[in-house]
């Protein structure tokens, strides 16, 4: 039979994900049968799916996928866009951490425990964090420690501490440390700041020290005291209470005071909104990537037009504000992510196939690039032909705003640098993009020199 095992799904012997006729399935190995059956029979599956904490699945007939040695073949509900922890803002990582701890708390109450606390097992689905790995549980044994405690601290606690106490950009470290920020590294970077937080002292600094002390595998393993269920519940509660208190105020960064609307006259903005909306509707877009989304004004417009939107921005503060808006408004169709389009997420991990690149998760039906061209051309020195080629890889339809060099915002970028951008003009812009796209609409925005283009890739 033709099944394609997902290259990211190889670490857990309990099962793996595969595609068969374009449908995603999860193989549950016979060796995992007792644990899977316990999850289903204990009522944990029903409880977690009802609370939107675990992705629901259907059990399929084994013959459907043609695998005979599996205990079960599951068909999980698909998530619309796979994102990674290094693309999440502080609030998203915090919500994912609390989701993991809540699941562990409920699992313990039903005689199960999480054997895996990888941040990658959480995805944002309809605006909320949700566990996608149904095989993360095992039957709890009285006296056993939480086997995923270290993983939780490295994937969630340490990055959250670094983001809230050192710099919000520290979340990007998870792109380098796919297995979580090593506690030793986090303890060194936090330094004296760790002394101000019991969570940092116990779960990061002391944890790192104890790991180092017992790290010599040539020595006999230490005899550890059993951990009572009450103790385990207290550990989970302490982690959750500490993380609930973590805070980061997105202020004073580049974009938070900016807003999407600065530099526009009312009529310019109205015309831009109408044109973007028409472009999305006429493309019949199911997926929209709003590149340089800022706090998500146009992402919301795209969502109102019925699309599922990924709102990308390089600034963690803008993404944080966007995410808080998503939470406050209960918005289910917008996923804000910290992604710098000038340096987007690459393919990572073993054989560069464990984590997908941004382009590898596309193409989107529509890519929005509004008020972005001047940043890429001037701040990044990106020539228009490379810009066009890059956008052609991301989506089928491109709605892009040309910002002339004499625009007030473009002039701001040129204030402290020599104007070496002799090819920055509309004719060069159009010529470069026409090599990759057919321009279907081109409208000047009133009361400004800006022009809004709708372009479609040939055959797209």
């Amino acid at each position: 039979m033709s099944l394609t095992r997902l290259p990211s799904s190889f670490r857990d012997p309990s099962g793996f994900l595969f595609r068969h006729h374009d449908t995603l399935y999860r193989y549950v190995a016979s060796s995992y049968a007792a644990h899977y059956d316990a999850v289903m029979r204990s009522g944990l599956y029903d409880e977690l799916t009802a609370a939107d904490l675990l992705i629901p699945h259907d059990e399929t007939a084994l013959t459907e996928a043609g695998i005979l040695d599996a205990h079960r073949i599951l068909r999980p509900q698909p998530v619309s866009f796979v994102s990674y922890p290094y693309e999440w803002c502080f609030g998203q990582l915090k919500a994912a951490a609390l989701c993991t701890l809540e699941i562990q708390r409920r699992a313990l109450a039903r005689g199960l425990t999480l054997k895996d606390a990888s941040a990658c097992n959480i995805q944002f689905h309809r605006g909320r964090p949700i566990l996608i790995d149904t095989l993360s549980f095992e039957v709890y044994q009285e006296g056993a420690p939480w086997i995923a405690y270290r993983q939780f601290c490295e994937h969630f606690l340490a990055p959250l501490l670094l983001m809230s106490r050192v710099h919000a950009d520290a979340g990007r470290w998870l792109r380098e440390y796919l297995d979580g920020v090593p506690l030793e590294v986090a303890a060194r970077v936090l330094g004296a700041r760790a002394a101000l937080s019991p969570a940092a002292l116990i779960h990061v600094r002391l944890h790192a020290r104890t790991i180092r002390r017992f790290s010599d595998s040539a020595k006999p393993p230490p005899r550890a005291r059993p951990v009572s269920k009450t103790g385990l519940a207290a550990l989970i509660e302490h982690l959750a209470a500490s993380i609930r208190r973590f805070d980061w105020r997105p202020s004073g960064t580049e974009w938070t005071e900016y807003g999407n609307t600065r530099g526009y006259a009312r009529e310019t903005l109205d015309a831009k909104r109408a044109l973007v909306r028409e472009g999305i509707l006429s493309a019949g877009a199911v997926t929209v990537w709003d590149v340089g989304a800022n706090t998500g004004e146009f992402s919301r417009l795209a969502a109102q037009a019925g699309a599922s939107v990924v709102a990308l921005d390089a600034d963690p503060a803008a993404v944080e504000l966007n995410y808080r808006g998503v939470v406050a408004g209960g918005e289910r169709s917008i996923l804000p992510l910290v992604i710098d389009i000038a340096n987007p997420s690459p393919a990572l991990g073993w054989d560069l196939r464990e984590r997908m690149s941004l382009a590898g998760r596309g193409p989107a039906d529509v890519v929005l690039a509004l008020a972005l061209v001047h940043h890429l051309a001037i701040s990044q020195n990106l020539p228009f032909d490379l810009m066009a080629e890059g956008f052609a890889r991301l989506g089928r339809t491109l709605i892009i705003e040309y910002v002339p060099k004499d625009d007030a915002q473009a002039r701001r970028l040129l204030r402290s640098r020599p104007d070496i951008f002799t090819s920055y003009d509309r004719a060069t812009f159009e010529g470069a993009f026409r090599r990759f796209f057919d321009v279907t609409r081109c409208e000047a925005l009133p009361s400004s020199g800006r022009v809004l283009y709708t372009m479609v890739k040939p055959g797209g």
């Binding site: 104890t210 180092r212 595998s217 103790g231």
Partner: protein
């Protein structure tokens, strides 16, 4: 192919260079071979030590909260 050996004396400054490199290597070298470290034992030992303490603290906090509630309720009843 024969390679002519160039005799050279180990001068004092060269000795110092070698010593400096050896010192740098010994400081930079990790205490255990990275590929063979035991990643879990320390985490398990810490939980054994910390979980009980946290449970005790949590229990004390619950008792304390209950005691405060009782005292408040008593004063509320006693007040005219």
């Amino acid at each position: 192919m024969r390679v002519a050996r160039v005799p050279h004396r180990v001068t004092g400054s060269r000795m110092l260079q070698i010593l400096a490199v050896l010192c740098a290597v010994s400081v930079a070298a990790p205490p255990a071979a990275h590929a063979y470290i035991d990643p879990l034992s320390g985490s398990v030992v810490l939980q054994g030590s910390v979980a009980g303490v946290l449970a005790a603290l949590l229990t004390i906090r619950h008792w304390w909260a209950s005691a405060i509630r009782l005292v408040r309720a008593w004063f509320a009843r006693a007040a005219p």
